[in-house]
Amino acid sequence: MNEQTLEIPGTIPADAANPVEPFLRMDRMPHIWCPACGIGTTVNCFTRALIESHANLDKVAIVSGIGCTGRVAGYANLDSFHTTHGRAIPFATGLKLANPELQVVVYSGDGDLFAIGGNHFIHAARRNMDLKVICVNNLTYAMTGGQTAPTTPSKVISATSPYGVFEPAFNLVALAEAAGASYVARWTTFHVKQLSRSMEEVLHKKGFCFIEVISPCPTLYQRRNKMGDGLDTMKYYKQASKIRNGARTTECDMTKSGEIVVGKFVDRERPGYFELLNSQMTETLGDRYAEPEVMCEQC
């Protein structure tokens, strides 16, 4: 036990340890995220999901893009890749195709995945590439100072919309469903139990899975819009969220301070990439088809 714990009544067992620590590169703590940023909360949920799903951690790879959420890869004690802005998904595609035994998780932010990375998101969903995409949506480009993102709701003040956003914002869950995702869910950082369960579900599900997590960015998004601090935002999530499993994703738009529809919206079966590849090749090539053996030899 760390000697920095407070003296508290009741004993702490000598072997007590924070269950999240084995999943983190503890030699890199403390992390860079702001007070009350929700990203760390999502990491706790992801850790619980990994534990509950009995995942072989040697076979879980995590790929992030650039941004605050993109830093998750650097803290995760897994084979982890901090790639270029918007391109976590194609990198993850290559990783998965080279070694299909890997469980490949893409963990990145809304700007990274849906602005610069938008094209790659829709194609991976179209292909039903076996990737688990966790998008922490703080409705802004946080790392660079809180600029307008495609998810920033109308009327919100941002660093590049000082007079208020007027562009319509993307509805990420509708986009994911339309592009072909096999699993689509949205939670907020308030919904830690449900989020963990969703993450656990996708670790068991084959195909392109998408989980959107609405998260506070108190330093930039909430502060500029005088929405209080992180705790105020969590209380807003609690009060404004309506769990509607199976809701129509097109009716789940995010607004500046309105209702937040959360839940699991899509859970369907679509043929996987390798299934389609192998079946097509076998049909046309018959015996001549050689199943992919992509990895090069160890010497």
Partner: protein
């Protein structure tokens, strides 16, 4: 006798208040003391109410607190 316990890493805490707010049995309160970074870490107010549910641990963005059930 409490069913669970909570352990707090004082120096990691950034005083966000999530654990205090969302503990279902109101075990915690925000301390008036400071850690070396100037944040108010949580304090255990009512240890006997702790069920060890670890909701505090799940909420904490800084991995600064966790709860666990006492082994039977």
């Amino acid at each position: 006798m409490a069913k669970g316990f909570v352990a707090i890493n004082v120096e990691r805490c950034k005083g966000c208040g999530f654990c205090v707010e969302f503990c279902p049995t109101r075990v915690l309160t925000l301390s008036s003391a400071f850690n070396t970074k100037g944040y108010h870490p949580p304090n255990v107010l009512a240890a006997e109410k702790c069920s060890g549910c670890d909701l505090c641990g799940m909420y904490c963005p800084d991995f600064a607190i966790f709860g666990a059930r006492y082994a039977r």
